[in-house]
């Protein structure tokens, strides 16, 4: 029963997809622009999540400090945020009238209606997946190996590259796959915070939403494309999800 319930919508999508016109729709400039933008935005989100998330995950996994539980709740929070609420929250913080957005605006930095805004929205909702994955990887990695390497004269960078990253490889790849898929599917925060304009903020999910208003068949085709891209990412990066 459970499997049927989960499989039915996917089956519906595939069966309602009109393959004869799929080529024409997917080749159209608006879909190609949305695909390009989606890949750009989600890749940048993953990179940003890693750059800012790795030190945070390290801190959570290896350093003892007061308020750790609070910090972990803070990191987990965006995962349970309804995406629209995330968008409103980003506006309240970084919008032109937001708590730091007004100063940013004075400095000429504005996020709403820009691709950078879409990246921020996607990063906000997806980074926790990567941070928590890396943290769990670091917790199960053997600290003694790192200590041994350091004793043998390896500098911190070498330890990170030769010991730590290989040790957490599996959780890192899982985390990247989940983060990427979440960033790729981001809709609510993006349309709320960054708006909906072709080539700038209209990623694939927004293109589906746009098509749905005028062209249901087109919306189904773009949905199948989005699903395929997400599956491909999971298969490439998180192949072990499918291993029993």
């Amino acid at each position: 029963m459970g499997a049927l319930f989960l499989a039915l919508p996917v089956a519906g999508l595939i069966m309602r997809c009109d393959w004869r016109i799929a080529g024409a729709i997917l080749g159209g400039t608006s879909v190609r622009s949305a695909l390009r933008l989606s890949l750009l935005v989600s890749s940048l989100s993953v990179i940003l999540s890693f750059l800012f998330g790795f030190p945070l995950a390290w801190y959570l996994a290896r350093v003892r400090f007061r308020g750790k539980r609070l910090l972990r709740i803070l990191v987990t929070l965006p995962m349970v945020f309804p995406p629209v609420v995330a968008g409103v929250a980003l506006l309240a913080a970084l919008g032109p009238r937001g708590i730091i957005g007004s100063s940013l605006g004075a400095a000429g930095i504005r996020f709403p209606f820009t691709t950078a805004g879409a990246v921020i929205a996607a990063t906000f909702v997806s980074a926790p997946f990567l941070i928590l994955s890396i943290e769990s990887g670091l917790r199960s990695a053997d600290v003694r190996l790192e200590q041994a390497a350091a004793t043998l004269g390896a500098n911190r960078w070498t330890v990170l590259r030769r010991i730590v990253l290989p040790a957490i490889r599996s959780s890192l790849l899982n985390g990247i796959a989940l983060t990427w898929a979440r960033a790729l599917g981001e809709f609510g925060a993006t349309i709320t915070f960054a708006g909906n304009l072709e080539g700038r903020t209209r990623t694939l999910p927004l293109a589906v939403f746009q098509a749905l208003q005028t062209d249901y068949t087109g919306a189904v085709v773009i949905s199948v494309l989005l699903l395929a891209v997400a599956l491909l990412l999971l298969a490439l990066l998180g192949g072990r999800f499918f291993a029993s």
Binding site: V84, L91, G95, P96, R97, P112, F113, F187, G188, I191, T192, G195, N196, L197, E198, R200, T201, R202, V208, F209, Q210, L212, Q213, T214, Y216
Partner: protein, 268 residues
């Protein structure tokens, strides 16, 4: 609760319909009141343009006060989204888009029993209140760097706004300033209320209930302005023809004139 919170999610509107039927209701009456004198209340499902949110919410409440046996359930969204949902088999009783062309298309598909134009609305320019906005007059929307928010090109409010800009000879400059194609006109208002955009074009009726301290309203000169025409259609797909006929008649009757007036609509 209110149906309003669902507006952003028009994409999944068709799937939300069951929820809408459970929790919806345009009026302010207790929605749990399913039974009147032991008899189940009839429901009329109305698909209305986002710009009709205030009018239909008030009209449904007034209608329900006089017709205790009926409950009006409204689904508000951009007209093209509503048209798609109806074409995909949503069991709507009444359809009220912001342009007659959607009624014409539905009629061509054999979905309409009959229809009648019932109201009109005009466009206004809105800008964030307070602050030092760069947009003071209609012509300012074409100034370089203005972040202009419009409804998308397929949405009536977006088409009317572009037509109005074209009449004023501003479409070239203003076209480059468009930063977002919103799914319905109320989302344009939202982007200005939050201060995200510098200027937007909506119907005068959308800001009738908004305080002056939240948004600044600037008239668009008559010679450039465009009338939105609202047409109400009785649909074959409905499940409650008799109830739908009664709400249809109410909206066209003198009983609704006061509401239409007070929300700055005009009778067609």
């Amino acid at each position: 609760m209110r149906v309003l919170s669902l507006r952003r999610r028009t994409a999944v509107g068709a799937f939300l319909l069951p929820l809408l039927l459970l929790f919806g209701g345009c009026g302010n009456g207790p929605s749990g009141d399913e039974h009147a004198g032991g008899k189940r209340k009839g429901e009329v499902l109305v698909f209305a343009a986002a710009s009709l949110t205030d009018l239909f919410t008030a009209a449904a409440a007034a209608f329900e006060r006089e017709n205790g046996d009926l409950r009006i359930v409204c689904n508000f969204a951009g007209s093209p989204s509503l048209a798609t949902q109806i074409a995909e088999g949503a069991p709507a009783d009444l359809f009220a888009p912001a342009s007659p062309r959607f009624v014409e298309a539905a009629a061509a598909a054999g979905a309409v029993v009959r229809s009648s134009r019932f109201a009109r609305s005009r466009l206004v320019l809105i800008t964030p209140s307070g602050g030092k906005g760069v947009v003071k007059t209609f012509r300012d929307v074409a100034r370089p760097g203005v972040r202009l928010v419009l409804a998308g090109p397929g949405v009536p409010a977006g088409e009317y706004a572009r037509e109005s800009l074209r009449r004023a000879g501003l479409l070239g400059g203003a076209g480059k300033n468009i930063v977002s194609d919103e799914p319905d006109v109320r989302s344009v208002l939202g982007k200005i209320l939050s201060g995200a955009g510098d200027a937007g074009i909506v119907y005068a009726t959308d800001v009738a209930g908004v305080a002056a301290r939240d948004v600044r309203v600037t008239e668009i000169p008559d010679r450039y302005n465009v009338d939105a025409v609202y047409e109400l259609a009785l649909l074959r797909s409905g499940r409650n023809r008799e109830g739908a006929e009664r709400f249809f008649a109410f909206l066209l009757s003198g009983g609704a004139d006061g509401l239409i007036d007070s929300l700055h609509f005009e009778r067609f």
